[in-house]
Amino acid sequence: MPTTRHDVVQQLQARLAGVDSMDEAALEREHVHVLGRKAGLLTAALKSISQLPIEERRTFGAELNQLRQRFESAFEARRRTLSQAVRSQEDDVDLTMPARTTWSGGIHPVTRVIDEIVEIFHRLGFAVAVGPEAETEWLNFGALNFPPDHPAMDMHDTLYLDVGGDPPEGERMLLRTHTSPVQIRTLQASPPPVRVVIPGTCYRNDTFDASHAPAFSQIEGLAVDEGITFVDLKATLIHFAHEFFSPDTKVRFRPSFFPFTEPSAEMDIGCLLCGGSGCRACKGSGWMEILGCGMVHPNVLKSCDVDPERYTGFAFGMGPHRITMLRYGIPDIRMLFEGDMRFLSHFGE
């Protein structure tokens, strides 16, 4: 063990100069010898500082710490040089070999379509509202101005639930056939202005085939305020079509019927496949039905205690599954309910 501080420093500096020429084994031995926690030269010297007079501690301590840093960086630099040397000997690599990957994962194409639709309406001041999938007959039909025993019910082949008890007519539980009950729930819970989009799963008593699924997603929108008109309905939905499809998408509105809106309309866009000249997908018409919409029926506002003479509104609904099939050219809706890894990974993240 060196006796003076000067000796210590000199000895260490000498050793430092040698680091640059050491091989791997020598380098590791030297590391332990100098910086080892138990018996390292520098470690011991640093421990000895506490026995020095107070005025010497600072200068010697600073000197030793500086040395320690120089040793550490010298060791690190030498290690790097050595490992590069190893690599350059192995430079004969085929860089066309495949890279190392990780599992990528992804959000379902239908969910992504829903997210994209929601995003467009977010920018138009709409928030997301949700509601239960098991509903009462009243909220699914009655409050939405469906007359009882009316053929309009045929458009909604309903799955009913057997929850026991003996619920009176109107209170029977069913699986909602559309997300429209959430319109009622939203309007009952908060006064206008209301602007919401409602994504969710809906159910119909439909045999599962290439174009029908007994459970499917729907996304609805509702805007209720003073002064909302049919012009706003058209403007908002044309804006949506231009954002979602493309700015030059042709759009048309034609009369239709839904019990909960009046006037009611279907919105068509120019066929995505043939561009309007007519093909099988559009049944030769050049148009594709994208969504149903209309001005909220006064009776619906009344069943939510909203004054239809003061407030007006519009509502719309569309099927993300169908839109997903159109967008990606998926021929069979059932594929969207299967977890085939090959199918899901086609769509990437």
Partner: protein, 797 residues
């Protein structure tokens, strides 16, 4: 609803272009689902002019014709006796596909080549006459399409009629809409043939009247509000004339006989169902509309015995029920070929009663379809007269007395008041009074007055039961104005007063987080087999396999794993975010929760050549990490604990809100084990992270290997380490686990790395050593675990 273009042309008295018609109907609210050409199989035939005919040199019965198709002459060998030079016949050239599906080819007949065929009516499936070729009474030029020349070039348009528009379930209603759209007049087509004029039905007093000796009575005025009838005697049941047959065939209705065809014609033209009875089979004779008697049976026209109930309206004679009102007539009173006298019924039935009746009986007919949507009861007299005229023109006979009209409680279509200001409020554009009036008149309404209060009094037409309140007229105005003629300028709006639903925000974060972990989202069907008493059953399930709502997501995901195996896919990483259901009390709304579940099976990393193809398969430690990630995303307030052989997430309230599972599935031998997890999504709003200053002082680490005996757990060690106070401990890491060697059986050595740090200053080694020793003592005391090896020398002291 099937619509014939030619029938519409007869109403509008002008030719219609099918494409334009399709567009217009769509824009009026009755889109065309499909267009089918009538006699499409004959579209290849042309009018052929026989220029010359010679006997075949080698066959007596054959002739050798020169047929001109407007461009070329063809040599055609013909076997028909009636071919004459200078006349036109249907000509199928070489290459023409015939109705039977065969293609005309060049053919040698007795040594001479025939380039085509002249056809008989039977060969064209236009009639039974096979005796000779079909002589065309046409002045069309040779080469003209045969269908065009014979005016057979009709199209059947299948239009999609919404349930609020029963008026479009007949050609007249569609013609009316088109006339309004085109701004032209329309008129009922003339009936071909001679018939006497039919007097207007005579209104009976009260609920009963007679016509031609038949008593007509309404005993169920709620179910049947109006009942008209007439008697024709001395008619002849037989085939319908060509015009009637072709009208019906053009809309896909099979011709039966002139009586049934007449009623079907009026059904398709005016939308009014009628029914003809064989008069001699009627007991009384009487026709009574009354409620059914529970248990009463009716043998309907389709040969089925049906049991009726008191909610149904039956048509009865003096002996009993003979038909189900508005749905189907009975077999016992059916018009037969021998029938000479008939009673013709034209009645109005109550829509919702008809709907319940046909649903109870499972019997939907053209009549019930229209009655449940609403048939114009004010137009019933015209429909009856129209039908009588057709029968008199096609079957002869004479009307026995005036038709009777039983209508005990006559009503008028409603009057609705329309405020122009309301039109503007809803539609967003000012539509002048004159235009409003014009639009409403165009749909058949009567604008009664212009009173002082600014409202328009509108009497709606009887064929529009959907027009009941002001908003219904607003829609008519919009429709007639044309949806395309409203502005579509985006105007300023107020944003809604609601925030995004927190559960949706949370679900979206979960989806992003789990897909970043290399999992693919799937959406599976929520209907499953039951899983215990808490599963919610469906009343009308699609199948026994789908008779309940799911309680959890994993079973659905397992099926998808099996689907992948069936396709030979071994590396499977799936997750789902979906609703699950649980029974609440009897009659109560089921409880719903959003769950998050995932399954993994197969390689931990994608294959890479540097591994030599051997990257390990996922095991419980992989699912443990995914589970922790899913819990952090879906239910951040929950803590993950060990329970049984797996991990569970426990909420602050102490309930289990998630768990991992080793899945037993029907795996092929090459499959890897499957691990899964499922967590309840907590819909509460997430707290945002707070900034924490990053340390600026160096940390100091100490490693120790501890020998853990059977019962000791890493968690217990870590708890003891962390519980030691005043150590400035920052983190604990498990570095490795070692079993065997000189360790006692059942023991293992686990290496921990402890990191110490003081945010304010650099810790001295001695301080760290001291804290480390205190920690090791605490671990020894609390867990009974001793160090095996220590980096830092502390253990030797």
């Amino acid at each position: 609803m099937n619509i014939s273009r030619k029938w519409l042309e007869a109403f509008l008295r002008q030719p219609l272009d099918t494409h334009d018609l399709t567009e217009r109907l769509a824009m009026l609210g009755a889109p065309v689902d499909s267009v089918e050409r009538s006699h499409a199989a004959l579209s290849g035939l042309v009018v052929g002019l026989v220029k010359d005919t010679q006997p075949h040199p080698d066959a007596d019965r054959l002739s050798l014709c020169t047929v001109f198709d407007g461009q070329d002459d063809y040599q055609v060998v013909c076997g028909a006796p009636n071919v004459e030079a200078g006349k036109s016949y249907p000509f199928a050239r070489v290459g023409t596909v015939m109705p039977g599906g065969f293609t005309i080819e060049k053919r040698k007949i007795r040594g001479l080549t025939s380039y085509g065929m002249l056809c008989s009516a039977k060969e064209l499936e236009l009639g039974e006459d096979a005796g000779g070729i079909m002589e065309l009474a046409t002045d069309a030029d040779p080469g003209t399409g045969f269908l065009e020349a014979m005016a057979l070039d009709d199209e059947c348009l299948e239009i999609d009629v919404t349930p609020n528009r029963p008026d479009l379930l007949g050609h007249k209603g569609v013609a009316r809409e088109l006339a309004a759209g085109y701004g032209i007049q329309f008129r009922l087509p003339a009936i071909e043939g001679d018939y006497p004029s039919v007097p207007a039905p005579v209104r009976a007093d009260g609920a009963e009247g007679t016509t031609g000796g038949v008593r007509v009575a309404i005993e169920d005025p709620e179910g049947c509000s109006r009942f008209l009838g007439a008697v024709i005697r001395g008619l002849t049941v037989g085939p319908s004339p060509e015009w009637l047959r072709s009208r019906l065939e053009a809309v896909g209705t099979r011709s039966i006989n002139n009586i049934v065809d007449a009623t079907n014609y009026v059904l398709m033209e005016l939308g009014q169902p009628l029914h003809a009875y064989d008069l001699t089979s009627l007991h009384g004779p009487a026709v009574i509309a009354r409620r059914g008697v529970a248990g009463e049976t009716v043998l309907t026209l389709d040969g089925t015995e049906r049991t009726v109930d008191g909610d149904m309206t039956v048509i009865a004679d003096e002996d009993g029920a003979i038909g189900i009102g508005g749905v189907m007539g009975g077999e016992t009173t059916e018009v037969r070929n021998s029938t000479r006298d008939i009673f013709l019924e034209c009645a109005s039935f109550q829509p919702s009663r008809i709907r319940r009746t046909r649903s109870t009986l499972g019997l939907s007919t053209d009549a019930s379809f229209r009655f449940e949507r609403g048939v114009d009861r004010w137009a019933a007299p015209d429909a009856l007269r129209r039908c009588l005229e057709i029968i008199l023109a096609t079957a002869g006979g004479t009307l026995d007395g005036d038709p009777v009209d039983v209508w005990p409680e006559p009503t008028n279509p409603p009057r609705i008041f329309l405020r122009p200001a309301r039109v503007r409020q809803v539609l967003g554009e000012e539509i002048p009074w004159e235009a409003l009036e014009q639009y409403l008149v165009a749909i058949g309404a009567t604008v009664v007055s212009k009173p002082d209060d600014g409202r328009m009094a509108v009497d709606v037409p009887g064929w529009r039961p959907d027009l009941r309140e002001e908003i219904d007229l607003v829609e008519e105005v919009a429709r007639m104005h044309g949806y395309q003629n409203f502005s579509s300028e985006l105007r300023p709006f107020r944003v809604g007063s609601l925030p995004d639903a927190t559960s949706d925000v949370a679900a979206r974060a979960v989806r992003r987080g789990l897909s970043a972990e290399g999992l693919y989202e799937v959406v599976t069907m929520p209907m499953h087999r039951g899983e215990g008493a808490e599963s919610v059953p469906l009343l009308n399930p699609l199948s026994a396999e789908e008779a309940f709502l799911r309680r959890r997501l994993i079973p659905g995901l397992v099926r998808e794993v099996e689907r992948n195996w069936a396709q030979g896919v071994r590396d499977i990483r799936l997750f789902e975010v979906g609703t699950v259901f649980r029974m609440a009390g009897p009659g109560e709304r089921p409880e719903e929760e959003i769950h998050v579940a995932g399954l993994i099976s197969g390689r931990r990393h994608p294959r890479h050549w540097t591994d030599g193809g051997h990257s390990g398969d996922c095991d419980q430690w992989d699912v443990a990490a995914l589970f922790r990630r899913a819990v952090a995303l879906a239910n951040p307030a929950a803590t993950v604990q060990v329970e049984g052989g797996s991990w569970v997430a426990v909420s602050a309230a102490g309930s289990v809100v998630g768990r991992t599972e080793r899945i037993d599935a029907d795996a092929p031998p090459w499959a890897a084990p499957v691990y899964g997890f499922e967590v309840v999504l907590d819909p509460a709003e997430r707290q945002s992270q707070r900034y924490r200053a990053l340390p600026e002082t160096p940390g100091s680490t100490r490693d120790v290997s501890l020998v853990l005996h059977q019962d000791a757990t890493a968690e217990a060690v870590e708890t003891a380490i962390r519980a030691t106070r005043g150590t400035r401990l920052e983190s604990v890491e498990v570095l490795s686990e070692f079993r065997g060697g000189d360790l006692p059986a059942g023991s293992r050595s686990v290496a921990f790395r402890l990191t110490f740090r003081d945010p304010e200053r650099t810790l001295r080694d001695a301080e760290v050593d001291k804290a480390f020793r205190r920690i090791l003592q605490a671990v020894q005391q609390q867990v009974g675990v001793a160090p095996r090896a220590v980096d830092g020398g502390a253990a030797e002291e």
